[in-house]
Point group: C2
Chain length 341, copies 2
């Protein structure tokens, strides 16, 4: 029958490079597209006063989640929050979401209801409307695909590309918690599978577990920017770790960053479990991912307006050292920050 050629192993390329390559194949550049795909979200012209901000996300069973320890309600919730997080990361407000679900015959009506109860719960909390979606069967496993649509006034969008040398680098909340939550759940799963009558013990680690299973999006920060009339010079959400976020902004803005290890915000539970598991806490922050906090840069004048906010931490500043992100360690030495694949 028809032959599909097989040549280049895709795993060697990496997701970011693959997306950039696919986008480069499109010869049809359109002036309606103000910010093309490749940032957290795309921005497209809609009317004179408002633009659309759109972003899509697909998550797959046993790649992005494990149903041994993920409640379906949390999975529905996380599908919404992780998708709208991309819209907030443009300094925009999501308004609508469409969610497609494909599931195998092992899923019951009650299981699907659980997923949707989480979806509706998140929609109500973030004031988003579920505006559609498709349901389909799959041969194996569960796949959820979501598209969020938001609005933004022209020139209010915050991209990755406008950070200037000396801008202050800030991050919201704390980092590394979702990653440690993942490690804890995986450890308990291994014990559970070996001894099925074992009751998992996650006491004392409720915060990091919830950060992994039920992450929140930072709508509050976007509202703060609006209230204080702050326009960051660049922004992204931290879905794949701080190192990845730094790389995204520094390469688009053609600057570098100096980041101070001692400033990195970390919760006590994250630190405690990292110590217990002999993991380097700074490595967890740099490469852990799934925190869905906002990483942004701002000028000195805007920084004055938020410097006392306990939920925002200045962790460094932009340098002219193009593409070079460095960690100033607690002992004062300088280490290049690399993105681990």
């Amino acid at each position: 029958m028809f032959e599909n050629s097989e040549k280049t192993n895709i795993e060697k390329i990496g997701k970011n490079k693959l997306i950039a390559h696919i986008l480069s194949l499109n010869e049809n550049k359109n002036p309606q597209v103000i910010v093309p795909p490749g940032d957290d979200a795309a921005i497209i012209k809609f009317s004179d006063n408002e633009n659309l901000v759109v972003s899509s996300n697909i998550i797959v069973e046993n790649v992005n989640f494990d149903l041994v320890y993920t409640p379906l309600k949390h999975l529905g919730y996380k599908t919404v929050t992780t998708t709208i997080s991309n819209i907030y990361a443009m300094n925009a407000k999501p308004e609508y979401i469409l969610i497609n679900i494909a599931f195998s015959s092992k899923y019951t009506l009650e299981a699907i209801e659980e997923i949707y109860s989480g979806i509706y719960f998140a929609c109500n909390k973030y004031n988003i409307i579920l505006a559609g979606g498709d349901i389909n069967t799959s041969v194996k496993g569960l796949t959820l695909s979501a598209t969020a649509i938001g609005k933004i006034c022209p020139n209010k969008e915050v991209l990755r590309q406008n950070c200037k040398v000396s801008d202050i680098l800030c991050v919201t909340g704390d980092l590394g918690a979702a990653y440690m939550g993942y490690h804890l759940l995986e450890r308990e799963k291994r014990v559970f599978l070996a001894t099925p009558d074992f009751k998992p013990d996650i006491e004392g680690y409720d915060y990091i577990v919830s950060r992994q299973l039920k992450p929140e999006a930072r709508n509050d920060i976007i509202e703060l920017f609006e209230k204080e009339n702050i326009l960051p010079t660049s922004m992204t959400d931290l879905s794949s770790g701080l190192a990845d976020g730094l790389k995204k902004i520094s390469s688009k803005s053609k600057i570098g960053f100096d980041v101070f290890e001692e400033k990195l915000p970390i919760d006590g539970q994250t630190l405690q479990l990292a110590n217990e598991m002999n993991l380097d806490a700074t490595m967890c922050i740099l490469n852990g991912g799934e925190d869905y906090e906002l990483l942004f840069t701002i000028g000195q004048i805007d920084y004055e307006k938020i410097k006392n906010n306990i939920d925002i931490t200045a962790i460094g500043y932009a340098t002219s050292n193009e593409h070079s992100c460095n960690l100033i360690t607690k002992d004062g030495s300088r280490k290049e920050i690399r993105v681990l694949n």
Copy 2:
């Protein structure tokens, strides 16, 4: 660990009922949503002069397509056309599409490029912009999920619910071809799998094969409506067969239909293969699906404007016989049209 209850077998419910049930779980009705999910697309208020039309679609390997005979380029093309077809079915014009893809490690870069070449080809042909999307790995198989976004002026949308008694029932193009294309490809696949050196013979059936593998959306009909200032009283696209389309309009509009078997438009290839395979051609039209033609109803005055169009066929009319769709067979007898699951 966490337990997900298992009770009701979802296969017994059916897709349309399941979607209706899920939508009924949402307690948060929003006035911004002008047409809620459940029609071909949802319509949401965006500005005073224009509304957004949005629709989503998810297709899964070995459920919706078979890569033994589906070229990846055609698969990308079909993902676009079948999704934007839902927007046209609202009498609206799609402008943007976002496509998420999850694929297993067996897919090479060249394979993904093939899919995107089909996506871009369809986008260029229909003047749609690929405005984003996510790429992810899957444990097994290929899943494509698409969301189309269009615009429509208030009161120009055509829903399923406003058909009146005596309105004329029309369909575009011909029906049953995609279904017979599927049967042909499946037959050739069975022979190919049994005797791998066999060369598939689809000569003389190029039209029905292309209807299955590379369906088009009916943008031309929506442009005709605009040019002729025609507003159908109801419309849907035929993704699941004529019987399903009739049921969707009749139940929403609370009317019935009398459909004349002798009027049903069928291509010579469809008829020939149906005869060859001992299949009833009318059954193929009623329950075949995947034609992506438009089924619509219009009043007598509008009908006069299109009655000589060779690409539109009047196949019946709306009756007061609520929910009852009847086929007036070639021998003059009357048979109830039922949707087969």
